[in-house]
């Protein structure tokens, strides 16, 4: 949840990348880390198994230039996708201001995407929240692979809330930055509505 560090004048927001195992969550963060201006990010940490699978989370923080004396910072997390890390996912998801659901576009992974979406909804409910009100976006990753489902079909199955959908090939960086910008926009729109920020002139 949003926090304000009054000493450093930082507004801190938390974005969590969710989705089934091997859908590209870590790949998204890795791309952002390698391509962002280093002056605007900290180090990235990845808690992984020996097989390079996320076991707890990946984390990095990005900072924007100050706006009216306040510096927005965004903590980016990924969750482990494998089903037996359910408790870890719940821990990392707690307090998320925005969520990126990274779906694997391959036909054979549809059930994994659906299971993960259900898992996400159940975890949110435990925190008194739902996908209907949390700011989130749907990233359809791996659009370069053969035997993928059409975007329309994936939207129908996974995006019943009508949130922004973005296509991506995260391993090449395609759609990665756009996804991050879009989810941050969704978070800010939500904050404006929730805290009754007056509309601009």
């Amino acid at each position: 949840m949003m926090n304000i560090n009054w000493e450093r004048n930082e507004i801190a927001l938390k974005i969590v990348y969710y989705g089934p195992g091997l859908s590209g969550k870590t790949t998204n963060l890795d791309y952002i880390y390698r391509h962002i201006d280093p002056a605007h990010r900290g180090e990235m940490i990845s808690l992984k198994t020996m097989e390079e699978r996320t076991i707890f989370f990946d984390f990095m923080q990005i900072e924007l230039p100050p706006i009216h004396g306040k510096q927005p910072t965004f903590s980016l997390y990924t969750v482990p996708g494998q089903y037996y890390y359910a408790a870890s996912r719940r821990i990392i998801l707690n307090g998320a201001d925005g969520i990126v659901f990274v779906a694997d576009s391959q036909r054979r992974r549809l059930n994994d995407n659906l299971d993960s979406m259900l898992d996400l909804e159940q975890n949110l409910i435990q925190f008194g929240r739902t996908l209907a009100e949390v700011p989130w976006v749907l990233q359809l990753n791996k659009r370069d692979l053969p035997d993928i489902l059409p975007v329309k079909a994936l939207r129908e199955k996974l995006n019943y809330h009508g949130v922004p959908t973005l296509e991506a090939v995260a391993i090449q960086g395609v759609g990665v930055n756009e996804t991050l910008k879009t989810v941050i926009q969704q978070v800010l729109i939500h904050i404006e509505r929730r805290w009754h920020v007056p509309a601009g002139q």
């Binding site: 940490i45 984390f59 924007l64 941050i184």
Partner: protein, 172 residues
């Protein structure tokens, strides 16, 4: 063999957003604690992973990463406590290192206070002084100030477009 179902996670509490006055009072208390324990570093953050205040430093250590690891460590261990019994909670954690020790305690169920200290300082002293600080901090958190946080004073209508411009500059 039957298996007991673990108790459900606790119902969510309303998030506390600290005002500037609360923040400064808490920061003062953290500095006092650091001085009493001659600690290298005292951190205050929320259990979602955000660093809120820091007194002292550890050269070469990325503080946001440290805060994220400490909060997730505390949260993960809290899950263990919950599995061990419905009303069970671990209120503090202590990690004994070869060069530095780490003491973490929860504050108002939403925050953590972490103290990194030299092995020459006794754990008992750390516990006593940290608990006194926590009691004061929890009082500060419970106190309502006349000037509550007005988000619209911090995030105005143009904030969104400035964030957009900032992201365009640093990402592309």
């Amino acid at each position: 063999m039957t298996q007991e179902t673990p108790p459900p996670a606790a119902a969510p509490k309303q998030q506390i957003l600290l005002s500037e006055e609360q923040y400064h009072q808490i920061s003062q208390e953290l500095e006092l604690l650091r001085a009493k324990l001659k600690s290298q570093l005292v951190l205050f953050g929320d259990l979602n992973g955000q660093l809120i205040s820091q007194k002292g430093s550890l050269p070469g250590v990325d503080m946001p990463i440290l805060a994220a690891l400490i909060s997730s460590d505390f949260s993960a261990t809290s899950e263990i406590a919950r599995l061990l019994g419905r009303e069970n909670r671990f209120r503090l954690h202590f990690h004994e290192g070869t060069r530095r020790n780490l003491y973490i305690a929860s504050v108002s169920e939403q925050f953590f206070l972490a103290v990194i200290f030299d092995p020459s300082v006794t754990l008992g002293m750390v516990r006593i002084f940290t608990q006194k600080s926590i009691d004061k901090i929890e009082t500060i958190i419970r106190t309502s100030f006349d000037e509550m946080v007005k988000i619209s004073n911090v995030i105005d209508a143009e904030f969104k477009s400035y964030v957009n411009e900032g992201l365009d500059r640093i990402l592309d």
